[in-house]
C-alpha cells in the first residue's frame, strides 16, 4: 500500500500528477501485452492490469473487445498471474489489478489476493463491488497487503463518499462521468466540484479515470484538482489501430503536468 501512496508522492514532488496507464492482460496477445506494458510502465507512476471477465458491465466497447480477445486466447486467472509476475520483474511502477468480483470469488477470496500480492500486485480495483456490499473482500485484500481502491462517481452523495472512503486505502478512483470506460473529448465541468467534495473528506490522493484520452482531458483533470489520471481505452484503441500507445501516454503526461 505504501508503494502506491509513495508513487503519488514522488510524482507530486516532481510537480506532476501521477500517470496510470491501463491495459487488459493478454491483449492483443500475452507476449505483446508484456512488451507494451513494460514500455508504458517505464514512463508511468503506477500501472493498472485488467484481468478479463466475460461480462464487463462497467466497460465500454474498447475494453469489452480487448477482454473478449484476451479470453478467446485462453487468458484466465492463472495466466494473468504469470503475466503480472513477469511484468513486476520488468518495471518499478507499482502494479494495480482491476477485475470484476466473480473471478475473485471463483478463485477463493484469500488465495486470490495472496497469490496476486506474491506475484507483485500492490493494489486492487473491483468496479462492481461497492465496498460496503462485501466488507470481507476489502479485509482479505488488506490482509494480503494490498491497497483497496474503490470508485466514486458524479452521482455519489456525501454519505456514499464517506462510506466508500472508510474502506479505501492507497488512493481514491474518481469516475469523471456517469458512464462506462471509454475515451472522451472532454470531461464534465462539475469534475472540480466532485474532487473538492472528496478531498474535503480525505487526505488520500484522488485519481481521475474514465474519459482520459490525451493532453486536453488530462489537463482538464489536473486543473480540476486530480492528483493522478488513469488512461486505458485510448491506449487500447491505439493498439487496435496499429499506432504506438506510448505517444498517447506521453500526451497524457504532458497534460497532467500543468
Amino acid at each position: 500500500m505504501n508503494a502506491v501512496v509513495e508513487a503519488f508522492q514522488r510524482a507530486q514532488a516532481e510537480g506532476r500528477r501521477a500517470v496510470i496507464p491501463y491495459l487488459t492482460a493478454g491483449f492483443p496477445s500475452p507476449e505483446a501485452f508484456l512488451t507494451h506494458a513494460e514500455r508504458l510502465a517505464e514512463e508511468a507512476d503506477l500501472f493498472e492490469v485488467g484481468l478479463p471477465f466475460s461480462d464487463p458491465l462497467g466497460d465500454g466497447p474498447v475494453i469489452q473487445r480487448a477482454s473478449e480477445r484476451a479470453l478467446l486466447q485462453g487468458v484466465r486467472t492463472r495466466e494473468v498471474l504469470r503475466l503480472v509476475e513477469a511484468l513486476a520483474g520488468r518495471t518499478r511502477a507499482p502494479l494495480l489489478l482491476m477485475t470484476y468480483l466473480n473471478p475473485v470469488l471463483a478463485y477463493g477470496l484469500e488465495r486470490f489476493f495472496q497469490d496476486f500480492a506474491a506475484a507483485g500486485v500492490r493494489g486492487v480495483i473491483l468496479p462492481d463491488l461497492p465496498p460496503d456490499e462485501g466488507p470481507e473482500v476489502a479485509e482479505a485484500a488488506k490482509a494480503a497487503g494490498l491497497a483497496t481502491v474503490f470508485l466514486l462517481a458524479p452521482t455519489s452523495t456525501d454519505r456514499r463518499i464517506a462510506t466508500v472512503l472508510r474502506h479505501t486505502t492507497g488512493f481514491v478512483y474518481t469516475v469523471s462521468v456517469t458512464g462506462v470506460t471509454g475515451a472522451r473529448d472532454r470531461l464534465p465541468e462539475e469534475l472540480g466540484t466532485l474532487i473538492a467534495r472528496i478531498k474535503a473528506k480525505t487526505t488520500l490522493p484522488v485519481a481521475v479515470g474514465f474519459g482520459i484520452s490525451g493532453r486536453a482531458t488530462a489537463s482538464q483533470a489536473a486543473r480540476a484538482g486530480a492528483d493522478g489520471v488513469v488512461v486505458g481505452s485510448a491506449l487500447i484503441r491505439a493498439l487496435e489501430e496499429g499506432q504506438d500507445p506510448l505517444s498517447v501516454l506521453r500526451a497524457v503526461r504532458e497534460g497532467a503536468r500543468l
Partner: protein, 406 residues
C-alpha cells in the same frame, strides 16, 4: 375477490439479502439510484392510491384476474392428481411479464422518469415494456442480443410497432446476458433521466424484491381462486418454469413462507441434457457467484467466467437464477428440477392436444415436469401448473424443429 395486496415477506432484509444471496454488486455510479428506487418503491407500496391505480391497470388493462382453469382432460390423461392451470397466457401481451412492467412503469411515472430501458431475450419482456411505454407515453429503448434479434424477428417488429427503439447487442454471446450488460451500461450512463425496467427477479436490490412483489399477484389469485373451486387455499403442489425466476416466484411467494406449505417445484431448462453442458439449469448444475449485481447460482467455468446458457426456449436461456430461488433451494422451502428440450417439446404438444392450449416453450417445461410427477400423486391431490405464457411466439420454431427431424 378483494384484489392484489403488497404482502410482507420475511426476505429480503433491508440490504436486499435473501440469506447470503442478492445484494447490490454494481458500479458505484448506480448505488444512489438504487437507493432512490428502493425508497420510492417502499413509499409506493404503502400508498393506497398507488395500490388502487396498479389494481385498476391489472384489471382493466392486463385483464386480471387470469383464470384458474381445471384441466379435466389433462387430469384424465395423467391419471393422478387434479390439475389446474393458472392462465397467465391470457394476460395482455400473452405472458406474466405485464404484471411487472405495469408496476415498474407506474413507479417510473411516479418518479418523474420519461425514458425507460429494458433487456430482452426472446422479446417477451421487451414487448411488454414497449406496450406499457406506449400506454403511458414513455420513451422506450430495448436491448436485445444480435442472435436473438435474428431468431425473434417478429417480436422486434412488434416492439417497433409499439414505438420502442430496439438496439441489437453484438458483444459476448449476443444473447440475453449480454443485452442485460448493455442495459446496465445505458443506465450507468443515463441514470439521472432513465428508469430501468428489469424483467425478472434478478439484478441488484431492490429489483428481485420489487419484481417478486408485483408478480406475487399470481400466487395471491391462485389462493383465492382455489378456495372458491376446491374449498382450500393451498394446493398440494405448484409447478412453474424458472428462467430468471419471476413467474415462479410470483406463484410461489404467497405460499413459501406460510403453513401449510405446498410442494413448490421450479423447473429449469436442462437443454440438451445436464451432462452435455448445453443447458440453463443454474440451480441443478451451477455454482454460486455474482452476475448482474446479484449473488446467486450461476453457470460459470472454474475461473469464474460466465458460461453460455442453452435452452430451446429463449426465455429460459439465462445463466443465472434469482437470489430468492437460490435461497429457497438452500433452505429446502422449494424444490428444483430440470427438463430437457425434448421433454419440453412433448409438454408443448401434450397441453395443445389435451386442452387446446398452446403454451409458451418456457411454460411447456412446467407442463412436462407435471406429466412426470402428477401420475404418481393421489386423485384427491391438487396441482397447479403456472402457464406463464402462450405459445404463439414459438409455433414457427417448433415447426422448424419438428420438420428438421422428420
Amino acid at each position: 375477490m378483494e384484489g392484489f395486496r403488497f404482502l410482507d415477506f420475511p426476505v429480503p432484509d433491508e440490504r436486499g439479502r435473501f440469506g447470503p444471496y442478492g445484494g447490490r454488486y454494481v458500479p458505484e455510479t448506480l448505488i444512489p439510484a438504487l437507493e432512490e428506487l428502493a425508497a420510492a418503491f417502499e413509499e409506493a407500496r404503502r400508498d393506497p392510491e398507488f395500490l388502487a391505480t396498479y389494481r385498476a391497470y391489472l384489471r382493466d388493462y392486463a385483464g386480471r384476474p387470469t383464470p384458474l382453469y381445471y384441466a379435466e382432460r389433462l387430469t384424465e390423461e395423467l391419471g393422478g392428481a387434479k390439475v389446474y392451470l393458472k392462465r397467465e397466457d391470457l394476460a395482455h401481451t400473452g405472458a406474466h411479464k405485464i404484471n411487472n412492467t405495469l408496476g415498474q412503469a407506474l413507479l417510473a411515472r411516479r418518479m418523474g422518469k420519461k425514458r425507460v430501458i429494458a433487456e430482452t431475450g426472446a422479446g417477451q419482456h421487451g414487448v411488454s415494456v414497449a406496450t406499457v411505454a406506449a400506454m403511458f407515453g414513455l420513451e422506450a429503448v430495448i436491448y436485445m442480443g444480435e442472435e436473438d434479434v435474428r431468431r425473434q424477428a417478429l417480436n422486434v417488429f412488434r416492439m417497433e410497432l409499439l414505438g420502442a427503439k430496439v438496439v441489437p447487442v453484438a458483444s459476448g454471446t449476443r444473447t440475453l446476458k449480454d443485452a442485460t450488460n448493455e442495459a446496465i451500461r445505458d443506465w450507468v450512463t443515463n441514470v439521472r433521466t432513465t428508469f430501468y425496467i428489469l424483467g425478472s427477479v434478478v439484478g441488484p436490490h431492490p429489483y428481485p424484491r420489487m419484481v417478486r412483489d408485483f408478480q406475487s399477484v399470481i400466487g395471491q389469485e391462485i389462493r383465492a381462486q382455489l378456495l372458491e373451486k376446491e374449498g382450500r387455499e393451498v394446493p398440494d403442489a405448484v409447478i412453474a418454469c424458472v428462467g430468471g425466476g419471476s413467474n415462479a416466484i410470483g406463484a410461489f411467494a404467497p405460499f413459501a413462507y406460510a403453513e401449510p406449505r405446498p410442494r413448490l417445484i421450479g423447473v429449469e431448462a436442462a437443454g440438451e441434457g445436464l451432462k452435455t453442458g448445453r443447458h440453463a439449469a443454474s440451480i441443478a448444475a451451477g455454482k454460486r457467484g455474482v452476475l448482474h449485481g446479484s449473488y446467486m447460482y450461476l453457470l460459470q467455468d472454474e475461473d469464474g467466467q460466465i458460461a453460455p446458457a442453452h435452452s430451446v426456449s429463449a426465455g429460459l436461456d439465462y445463466p443465472g437464477v434469482g437470489p430468492e430461488h437460490s435461497y429457497l433451494a438452500d433452505e429446502g422451502l422449494a424444490e428444483y428440477a430440470a427438463v430437457t428440450d425434448e421433454e419440453a417439446l412433448s409438454g408443448f404438444r401434450l397441453l395443445a392436444k389435451t386442452e387446446g392450449i398452446i403454451p409458451a416453450l418456457e411454460s411447456a417445461h412446467a407442463v412436462a415436469y407435471a406429466a412426470k410427477v402428477v401420475p404418481a400423486m393421489p386423485r384427491d391431490a391438487v396441482v397447479v401448473i403456472n402457464v406463464s405464457g402462450r405459445g404463439d411466439k414459438d409455433v414457427a420454431e417448433v415447426k422448424r424443429i419438428l420438420e428438421e427431424r422428420a
